[in-house]
Subunit: 523 residues, 2 copies
């Protein structure tokens, strides 16, 4: 996707809605984590991402006795992925401290981020996200409390310089992990399948670490409330932590900050006062409806429905304005469809499917709000009819997309989820998809793999769904994932949507859904 | 000189003396400095140190309108050398701030420090002294107040990255300069010679910027109370700012922290509780006597004399233990003689001269303390007699040093200052020195140039003394010095005692003495 820059878009600030967002702010839970061991990060061609953490020769128990001078380093392994703040006690040993201590800290969710540190950075996202600090310390001893929040398992400290006359000694490393929820409140799955159980455990940890002041997309990078992530996080949350206040807070943030033309932004910045981003996706705006419908169905919170229904209705009404005389969506180029980081698919059929999918949810939401659904039902029928007649190739038993009648996986999956065909037809379609398009390739995100698995489960291909979970999320587990990644192509493990493995997020909300899928469809 | 590491030396902590040091702590004077202009630091082969500050195309008045993105930079010129704290207001412009701002700050006393930043550092002193910071800012707008103290005239801010969607805007740059004294309380010299007047002005600024919580050697690097610097700073201070409390504080710090074997350290760290360094120089320990004698002569503060006389006496008594049966000093290798950063001279004759020089001051101090001087007078006579008979080559009319009877400038100068010969002989010796050893080469510090000039003035070579001031300090003025430098060899301007121009200190206390020499001997 291209970066969107729409600095002239004006936004509403519905203060009544934003106040409700604020009053549902979570109290974070803090937990003290001590490092589990000392490691060395080493290049390892057998690892998908090229680096591994090897037990160090030094022992953590003897840490306070080690003296680190110019060029020496030490790497802590927290034992698991954590989000929070790091502190460490530092002293000088030798002659009196005759110069500042100059330290370099590198934080890695995975070994690769530490391994490639120091190489030129050519990623498309800001280099400022690389989790490292250069810090001068003028007075020792001190307990250094790094003021910024990090998402990491590995913490490397390199002494750039002390002085020829003294060295640094480190002790009491400590990480205060934070989250809006407590991992101990959720019972992990016991499926009898170790890999599935581990996938569930990693999913829970991923969700836990992304649940902060809002549902963040990733605690390492962006750290933002994205609606695409929120929708899936909320589903997984209902099945696990069930913190409904945090969902409510996030729905009010989106609802309170729509643009003057009605549309909801893709994401909101919350580090200061909430600010809507000026990036818009056709599908993400519509997913506000979906997220609200799921929330209302789970909580029966009709006050929130009443508050936010008008915003949800705006999304649908604006989207329907893009439907042409053939009852097909004609996308506004300024509001593209996201679906996956892979760029090389035609997107028009899936836009049509997502409109139908969300219109179904909107009709149920409208019913819940005790409002008339007739005209939306009529529209739904027209959209379905037109989709079947224009976009379904009966001979191939597959949907086509765009002027070149491209057949791609994403269109089929979203058409299944949107229930454009009837139940039996959907089963036949998914059978055909598995025969002709599996094993899946060219898909780069757990976000879209989620939808494939859900389409399989919906069409009763339970084993295939489980197998895909094991093949995709299981592959990350085999690569020592403590949390699931933002982007992963099993056939090209070193893929980055941003051109750098250093900048990828390795704990990313939209990848947590096995915890939902397994509980909803398997157990 | 080699680094000394004497971690087994034990020190006294005379709490009564240290309390007096503490009660004479100065109240720093703070002054707000706004940058004078924006500059570009450019390579310039016509500049002695290789770089110059050129007026930038941007104007300071328009600063708040400039938008700085990835790789952009801006360099402030404060208009003069300052010591203190920098702050600046920063905002984001464009789309919402979707990543941290990552900034690189470089502080330069001279353009060269900014010019060579980024080149590999191979200096012998700690790289931690290079005045630069890498700072992530997670929230904008903000007023960034850098917590550390810097000595600088130039401040470069480089945007390592913002993001493709927004840039940084800077406004309200501000430097809060600090010193124990007020420059406005001293009347600069009006000699009628513009260069001499400028040398005086730069000397005053040098002393001013080094007068902080203690007399620092240099506010950029070390930032320490060194006795060699203190002795000369105090002399210049008496003629100018006349802050006698600060001298008193520093004398008590040295007196309160001598080693258990009696000797006073070369320098004290004062950033936390005062800590004596484990480095010892024969001459520096003896200069405690000199500094105390100057102080008592200037202030008539006999309480301080009474408190510190026993410590001063210890230095002399310990030094005299090193005198052999020929009445010549036989140096302990663990306590070398410093004199200058140039390493390639035999140092035994000058050690003998400095012992005689300080013994003269010690005798006058002993008289002031109403104590018996007879035995010290006897020793003085023996030392002089032996020096004349063993170390003076009558034929050459020059002093020799060491087993190879080396003739070097430092020996002659210190023998003159120590008045080993009588007044007329001293004049003849200095005439000979000028004929055979001028122009001076191979001397790297203003510290030793000070002693050459003082020897010239003492022997009534007033014009030669003034000329040497103009030739040496004047050359730094021509190179745009706002303050005088730690090290400077006119015949090799890019000399660094540490192997790097980036680490040299360009505001160094021991170079401030023209303010003293001109007032004492010229006006």
């Amino acid at each position: 996707m291209e970066f969107q820059t729409n600095t002239t878009v004006e936004f509403n600030r519905h203060t009544d809605l934003l106040e409700k967002a604020n009053s549902n702010r979570p109290h974070l839970i803090y937990q003290t984590v001590k490092p589990a061991r000392l490691v060395d990060i080493v290049a390892d061609s057998s690892s998908a991402l090229g680096y591994t953490a090897k037990e160090a020769k030094q022992s953590l128990a003897k840490l306070p006795t080690y003296q680190l001078g110019k060029g020496d380093s030490i790497t802590f392994d927290l034992g698991n992925h954590e989000v929070g703040h790091f502190s460490i006690h530092i002293n000088a040993c030798g002659s009196p401290m005759d110069a500042p201590l100059y330290l370099h800290f590198i934080f890695g969710e995975l070994p690769v981020e530490i391994g490639v540190n120091g190489e030129p950075y050519n990623g498309v996202l800001s280099q400022s996200w690389l989790a490292e600090e250069f810090i001068h310390i003028d007075k020792l001893p001190t307990t250094l409390e790094l003021p910024r929040r990090y998402a990491c398992r590995y913490i490397k400290i390199e002494v750039i310089d002390s002085s020829p006359k003294w060295k640094a000694q480190f002790s009491h490393p400590q990480f205060i992990a934070e989250s809006a929820v407590d991992l101990n409140t959720v019972t992990p799955l016991k499926t009898g399948d170790q890999l599935l159980d581990r996938i569930d455990e990693v999913s829970l940890k991923t969700l836990h670490d992304c649940m902060q002041d809002v549902f963040e997309d990733g605690p390492k990078r962006d750290r933002r409330l994205w609606i695409g992530d929120l929708r899936l996080q909320a589903l997984a949350n209902y099945e696990t932590f069930d913190n409904t206040e945090l969902v409510k807070r996030c729905l009010y943030l989106f609802g309170g900050l729509n643009a003057k033309d009605g549309w909801i932004t893709t994401n909101v910045f919350t580090q200061n006062e909430p600010v809507p981003d000026d990036t818009f996706f056709f599908d993400y705006s519509l997913f506000f409806i979906d997220a609200l419908a799921d929330y209302v169905e789970h909580t029966k919170d009709y006050t929130t429905l009443t508050d936010l229904y008008p915003i949800a209705k705006l999304q649908m009404d604006e989207a329907l304005k893009l439907v042409d005389s053939n009852n097909l969506v004609s996308l506004d180029p300024s509001r593209p469809v996201f679906v996956d980081w892979s760029m090389d698919f035609d997107r028009s059929a899936r836009a049509q499917a997502i409109l139908i999918y969300t219109l179904r949810h909107f009709i149920s939401l409208t019913s819940s709000a005790n409002k008339q659904t007739t005209s939306y039902n009529n529209t739904l029928n027209k959209l379905i009819e037109s989709t079947r007649s224009h976009l379904f190739d009966k001979q191939k038993n597959l949907f086509v997309s765009g002027p070149n009648k491209e057949v791609n996986l994403a269109s089929q999956i979203w058409m299944v989820l949107a229930q454009v065909l009837d139940e039996n037809e959907n089963v036949e379609l998914m059978k055909n998809v598995q025969n002709t398009m599996f094993p899946v390739t060219g898909i780069a995100t757990p976000y879209f793999y989620h939808h494939i698995v859900e389409a399989l489960f919906m069409t009763n291909f339970k084993t295939a769904g489980i197998n895909l979970i094991k093949r995709y999320w299981g592959k990350m587990v085999q690569e020592d994932a403590d949390t699931f990644w933002e982007a992963f192509k099993p056939e090209d493990p070193s893929f980055s949507p941003y051109g750098s493995l250093a900048i990828n997020s390795y704990c990313h909300a939209w990848s947590c859904t096995p915890a939902y899928l397994l509980r909803k469809y398997v157990i």
